[in-house]
């Protein structure tokens, strides 16, 4: 977790110490980190977890782990090697309970303007091999 995010949503809880609260938004299964549970009806709050290694690295990043109780589908966006993106609207950081989205690359791209999120396959249809492969029952691509 980058220092900027830690400073925004990390919270020195009287019992748990440095920690964050995990929630997700039903629309598209976006994970949201916050100080306290998000109570609005479009969010599902999960649990509070500790921020690890926060004291061992001066001004460096802390470490967090997705709680096991997080919904499996939401969790499936993240696995070893996944690039994690943190995103927030200004108003999210300025409210009493600051919050930040945690997004995988595909989730982030979905939120970008359509021109940037258009999925483009490798094939332009002119190559025999690629074309024939794309016309067979297949594993991917998804639309």
């Amino acid at each position: 977790m980058p220092r900027e995010v830690l400073n925004s949503v990390g919270y020195d809880h009287e019992v748990h110490g440095p920690s964050i609260h995990w929630n997700y938004e039903r629309n598209g299964d976006y994970i949201i980190l916050s100080n306290y549970p998000l109570r609005e009806s479009n969010y599902v709050d999960i649990e509070r977890t500790k921020i690890y290694d926060i004291d061992t690295i001066d001004n460096g990043p802390g470490r967090i782990r997705i709680p096991g109780s997080m919904d499996d589908k939401v969790k499936s966006h993240f696995f070893e090697g996944t690039r994690v993106n943190y995103m927030a609207y200004t108003e999210m950081l300025e409210q009493d309970n600051p919050a930040v989205f945690v997004l995988s690359n595909p989730q982030l791209q979905q939120l970008l303007p359509r021109e940037a999120s258009e999925v483009i396959t490798e094939s332009d249809g002119s190559d025999d091999l690629d074309q024939s492969v794309f016309e067979l029952p297949a594993f991917l691509p998804s639309p």
Partner: protein
């Protein structure tokens, strides 16, 4: 009165949605529970758009309403057509009432067609559409219009195509207005493709009937004028058909409906059967016009009067001119035939290429694995012309996945081979001409259902988490490729089929729609849907 209703779920964060709608439509009203938000806007006093979002469930509903007495007008116009039919009133009166009925049918669709509502299309981009319902009342003026059409034009040689078209149009509208059948699926393009595939046959059947009518009933001068207009009209309609296909491709590529399979075998057979029957009827009708029997063993009856008229006009080579006219009128059907021939040729050629240009992967599997030298992320099941089965994997995919994930892909493809899916696909290709395109023939197979079963088979073989991880890894990599391409290269060929300009580009879109991979590409659900389905199956 509610004319059209679109229902779905939000696919963007609520704060983003609210912010965008506030900018477009102003402040919403909210319910007492503070979870339901309603935006309202009007256009030329005829229509009102109401957008209702329940943020606690993410449900979205778009309603188009009107204060016009729609039902009353529809019933009145339909009754007047029936009265005109019984009392044999003026043809002009009948024509006027038909135009009125058609206007009433189209009325609910105008806002969508013209993008009239500020906010209508932006909202559709923020949601996954699950249902669209046009008011069932639209069937009343439709009956009026079809009755008028059959009465006015469905005589003599026009009777069969007009009746076929009337039944087919009514079936399509009924499907789109009966609420319990209106759950949209990502494979809905199949239905639209089928309609598009039938249009060439409709055009040719109607054109030949008109030519026959002109030759047998019109005086010489009028015949020459009417025939010239028919030729011009047919060229115009052919180009319009191609452009319509392009629009369809663009819409099909951008739509986000969920991908529920059509579980009912009866529904699949009924839908596919209707389309096959319609195309066979039209094809038989076309052949009937070119011969006086069901086989070509005599001089075509539609050519003879046309030739006689041309000869009377003193034009040279009347037989050649008559056949040329019929060829021009048959352009849409010829186009379909050429595309089908090209499709069969490229299918066989690519089968040979796959045999020669791939290398074996040395791992211990039941089915031979062949590697394609391509950086794209793809794997597929293949049965060669000799009946040999193999699994094809691109080098890009091989380099991306670890061993377990590779086994997940192999298991998925193995299911396709066990299920003989490549053979089904090839069969649909062969029958493509008869039923107006390979895509039409694939309805009955219901590939979205097959893809789900293949995912479950893979999960059973290698484990749920492995399959999910594989899907997510490929999704992430494709996202990366897409982003890199968009941000690093603005060349036009990256933006879809638009890079093929002019007639070739239009023909390419038609080919892709009728014989290309449009249906197979839409057979796969989004990765989110696949993950959800696999997890749900595991829980049960």
């Amino acid at each position: 009165m509610k004319l059209v209703s679109v229902a779905g779920t939000l696919n963007r964060p609520w704060k983003l949605v609210r912010s965008e709608l506030n900018q477009l439509l102003g402040s919403p009203s909210t319910s007492d529970s503070d979870s339901i938000y309603t935006w309202t806007t009007t256009i030329i006093r005829l229509y009102t758009l109401v957008i209702v979002i329940d943020k606690s469930t993410s449900d979205v509903t778009l309603n188009i309403r009107t204060s016009v007495p729609y039902t009353l007008i529809g019933i009145s116009a339909t009754l007047l057509i029936l009265v005109a039919r019984i009392l044999h009133l003026s043809q002009y009166f009948l024509l006027f009432m038909m135009v009125l009925c058609l206007g009433i049918v189209v009325f609910p669709l105008v806002p969508s067609l013209l993008n009239s509502f500020q906010g209508y299309f932006p909202v559709q981009g923020l949601m996954d559409t699950n249902e669209i319902q046009v008011t069932p009342v639209v069937l009343i003026p439709l009956v009026g219009w079809l009755t008028g059409l059959v009465y006015a034009a469905g005589t003599g040689p026009f009777r069969i195509p007009i009746l076929v078209m009337a039944v087919f149009m009514f079936a399509i509208f009924a499907y789109h207005t009966v609420p319990q059948m209106m759950e949209l699926r990502r494979q809905w393009p199949i239905g639209a493709v089928s309609v598009l595939a039938s249009l060439p046959l409709f055009l040719v059947a109607g054109g030949l009937a008109l030519l026959y009518e002109f030759a047998t009933r019109l005086p010489l001068n009028t015949f020459l004028f009417a025939t010239s207009a028919l030729v011009g009209g047919m060229i115009f309609l052919s180009i319009s058909y191609l452009k319509l296909t392009r629009q369809f491709v663009l819409v099909a590529q951008s739509q986000t409906a969920p991908n529920e399979p059509i579980e009912s075998l009866l529904a699949r057979i009924a839908w596919g059967g209707l389309l096959v029957l319609q195309n066979i009827c039209l094809l038989a009708f076309t052949l009937f016009f070119l011969s006086d029997r069901w086989v070509f063993d005599a001089w075509p009856t539609s050519v003879k009067p046309v030739r006689n008229q041309i000869a009377q006009a003193g034009l040279p080579l009347p037989s050649i001119l008559a056949w040329s006219l019929i060829l021009v009128v048959s352009i849409p059907l010829l186009m379909l035939f050429i595309l089908w021939t090209w499709h069969i040729y490229t299918t066989i050629r690519s089968q040979i290429a796959l045999s020669n240009d791939t290398t074996h992967l040395n791992i211990d599997t039941e089915t031979p694995i062949r590697i394609i030298d391509s950086s794209s992320l793809h794997a597929s099941a293949r049965t060669s012309l000799q009946g040999k089965q193999s699994i094809l994997i691109t080098k890009g995919l091989l380099e991306l996945l670890d061993d377990d994930e590779l086994q997940a892909v192999i298991a998925h493809e193995s299911y396709h081979l066990k299920n003989r899916d490549p053979l089904r696909s090839f069969l649909a290709s062969l029958l493509g001409l008869l039923v107006g395109g390979k895509s039409t023939g694939m309805i009955i197979f219901d590939f979205p259902r097959i893809e789900r079963q293949a995912d479950l088979y893979a999960a059973d073989q290698v484990g749920t988490q492995t399959v999910i991880r594989t899907l997510r890894r490929i999704e992430a990599q494709e996202t990366r490729y897409a982003a890199e391409k968009v941000f690093s290269d603005n060349s036009p060929e990256l933006m879809g089929s638009d890079h093929y300009l002019g007639v070739i580009g239009l023909a390419w879109d038609l080919y892709n729609t009728l014989f290309g991979n449009l249906i197979l590409a839409n057979a796969h659900s989004s990765v989110d849907e696949r993950v959800q389905y696999i997890l749900a199956s595991e829980r049960t």
